[in-house]
Symmetry: C2
Subunit: 452 residues, 2 copies
């Protein structure tokens, strides 16, 4: 493996160099040695659209179709904008229906219609059907190329049927079995067909522990089914339970990565901004609202602090120490919140263990608060020699850690209960709370202790 990795890296470097020079001969030679997925990765990493086009143009139709369906969103948009309609039509006809629909779905409406019009009737019908589903639904993930046979078919007949549709079924894992009303009744994994006698009927080897989804189900739910039931392919049915497509595990792997990325970005308040390659102005749309919200909450905190101007005027160093209390609370709150958000998403938190989780987080907060509060109090005492200030520090720290644990569990759980996504900007809400309450508790206690 290490040999091939080394070799592959060298080939890549030669491709990067040749792309810069638009050297078609070298590009053709070197890309021929790479897997389409590697070529897609290179296109993602190239920054210059002309260089991307140089690399893409040397690929033959089959490989071009594989590469265009593997490449990231921004590289794809750049390529599609520069390719001729005739070229895209060829690509579309070489793609599975789901990939063809994904590709068309990213184009402007008028170009999409034009290209659909140019495509062959079968592609047009399949792709138009798929485009009617939302991107992030089961319908948006499925492909229409499904192997299905009626009950009573023999294994020999199934083999003939598969051979006849070899191109459509290049990645099937199961053959689905339907009854005489075309309703889905079971499936047979291809390996079981291989182990069965050619003369036997699919009825004898049919498995009926069938998991299926309706086309409108959300992709997060689809991913959850794949994980839970260790599926390779999931049949999709319409409202009358007729088989309309299937979702394959390779697409679900991408969905899982995508959902994890989305959750991380949402927690940080970056909305659903795709990674770093869009224009900066687009990024403002997702980030500015959360920063604006944070400015509002920070201003409320500032107003709370301003209530204690007299205290701060008398003990200016308090302005330094209050930030330590707030900062500790913020970090502890984000720790708890991250665990809880992830637990909610993975389905590990349920009404049956919520109370225990909350109690556990409060216990941890008490222990952390006691340890860190003591250290902080000792530091304050060594620094100022003021026992009152030191005791206020310890007390405020413990209280703010408890507040952090409460907010870290309740904010995401509350968002979930309200039907909102628990990941959405949880960290903005949690740190707003630990800042505000941290300042209030510290300055409040100090004022009382000093009799101000």
């Amino acid at each position: 493996m290490s040999d091939t990795v080394e070799q592959e890296r060298e080939v890549r470097e030669r491709v990067f160099a040749a792309a810069a020079l638009a050297d078609d001969l070298v590009l053709r030679q070197e890309t021929a040695r790479l897997h389409p997925a590697d070529i897609a990765e290179i296109l993602d990493q190239l920054d210059d659209d002309n260089e991307r086009l140089s690399v893409f143009s040397v690929l033959d139709d089959d490989r071009a179709a594989e590469v265009i369906s593997d490449v990231g969103e921004s590289a794809r948009a750049a390529l599609l904008a520069r390719l001729a309609d005739a070229h895209i039509t060829t690509l579309l006809e070489g793609l599975d229906s789901d990939d063809a629909a994904d590709l068309l779905g990213e184009l402007p409406e008028d170009r999409k219609l034009l290209l659909l019009h140019r495509a062959d009737p079968e592609t047009r019908r399949d792709v138009q059907g798929l485009l009617s589903y939302p991107d992030d639904s089961a319908g948006g993930l499925m492909k229409t190329e499904v192997a299905s046979v009626d009950i009573g078919t023999t294994v020999r007949q199934v083999r003939t049927y598969l051979r006849q549709h070899r191109d459509d079924f290049h990645d099937i894992h199961n053959v689905f079995i339907t009854d005489h009303k075309k309703k889905l009744v079971g499936y047979v994994p291809v390996r079981n067909l291989l182990m069965a006698d050619d003369g036997s009927s699919v009825d004898e080897i049919l498995l009926s522990d069938l998991v299926s989804v309706s086309a409108t189900v959300d992709q997060e739910e689809v991913a959850h089914l794949f994980e839970k039931y260790d599926l390779l392919s999931l049949p999709v049915v319409d409202a009358s339970e007729l088989l309309v497509g299937r979702i394959t595990v390779d697409d679900v792997v991408d969905v899982i990565e995508e959902e994890a990325t989305e959750d991380m970005l949402k927690m940080a308040g970056v909305g659903d901004e795709p990674l770093g390659l869009h224009g900066p102005v687009k990024a403002l749309r997702t980030r500015l609202p959360w920063l604006g919200l944070n400015l509002m909450t920070a201003t409320v905190s500032a107003a709370a602090i301003s209530l204690f101007q007299e205290t701060i005027h008398q003990v200016a160093i308090a302005a330094a120490f209050m930030t330590v209390v707030a900062s500790q609370g913020g970090n502890a709150g984000v720790q708890t919140m991250t665990l809880v958000v992830r637990g909610l998403v993975l389905g590990e938190l349920s009404p049956h263990n919520t109370r225990r989780i909350v109690m556990r987080e409060l216990t941890i907060a008490l222990l952390n608060g006691t340890v860190l509060g003591s250290v902080a109090a000792a530091t304050v005492y060594a620094w100022t020699g003021n026992v009152r200030l030191a005791s206020v520090m310890a007390t405020a720290m413990i209280i703010n850690m408890l507040i952090a644990a409460a907010l870290g569990t309740l904010v995401p759980m509350g968002l979930r209960r309200l039907g909102a996504d628990p990941a959405v900007a949880s960290s903005v809400f949690v740190t707003a709370g630990t800042d505000l309450l941290g300042f209030l508790v510290f300055l409040g206690l100090l004022s009382v202790a000093l009799g101000i």
Copy 2:
């Protein structure tokens, strides 16, 4: 589907109720209607170990084996601690080698040896071999049940071979082909065997675009290969390139979830603490160090603030406004950092686009800073009527947003360059920087503006 979801929920509630009463009869009846994966989920959600044992005890051996390999770590530990050795031995023999190794790997050393000793020789040999690999390596993920045939074998012979090993090969996707020295030379997907003629040789349909890994490769790299090349199963080879096992996509789906969870937790400074069900003391070990580090950095910030005691003494409200500057920087820094960490993990950031990403983040920061800085300055002016204070606010805010963008990109990239994990506690480092520099910039500018 919605019918079944409703029904399943009712069955679950009856299982929860029956578990509380240890009602074996109802438990046997109701669990029989559930998929093993659903039973595992129920065991994860139960809090009481006796209730878990009641549910588990009514399962027959086959289902018990499936459930125990599906259940989460803490429920499994609780069950294994209470099951008799003879029962565990039966479970082991019903499991695939990888699941058997995972299960034994979680037991204390002396019990593990005892159980290995009791197992049949084949299980013992396979499992002992697998236990020699680290948990998070390809060897730790693979199973030893591999279908492989020599070059020259006919499709008919392959079918007979698969039938003979039906139990071991219940989840195979590919038959691997080896040369006369037992070296791996290619593979045939089972669907291609099914489409081929029985009389043909595997040589005719063999695919040689083989991706394989050595047993010592890290699981993150394994997951990356599955995603990139859309694999269903990946052969694992030893140092002399002999086939020793295979990794299947269902296990990789779990790895991807696990790695995403780990990255999120690491970013928040919760180390590799597994979700919420371990004792609180264990949690302290992972969280306290990062909170301790944060206490140190917050104390440094406090010391920086204390340099400006005279300024704060004169303008006590400055203590309120400086927290707004720090808070905005922290949030903006975490936004950038999250995008960059995720981009590094997904391989979307490379030396070829680093500069562009940094420039882009700085541009966004300048735009965000200008908008939010103006709002903040207007607020300060409305509040205090002090123009100097307002201009200091705007300037400090813009500068701290730029600092946040720089730290948000450079901290994770720097950690990566040092060979460290870019996710590890990046948020602790980034917010430490935006706090410290935010306070310094604001108070420094204010002192100059006021001539203190």
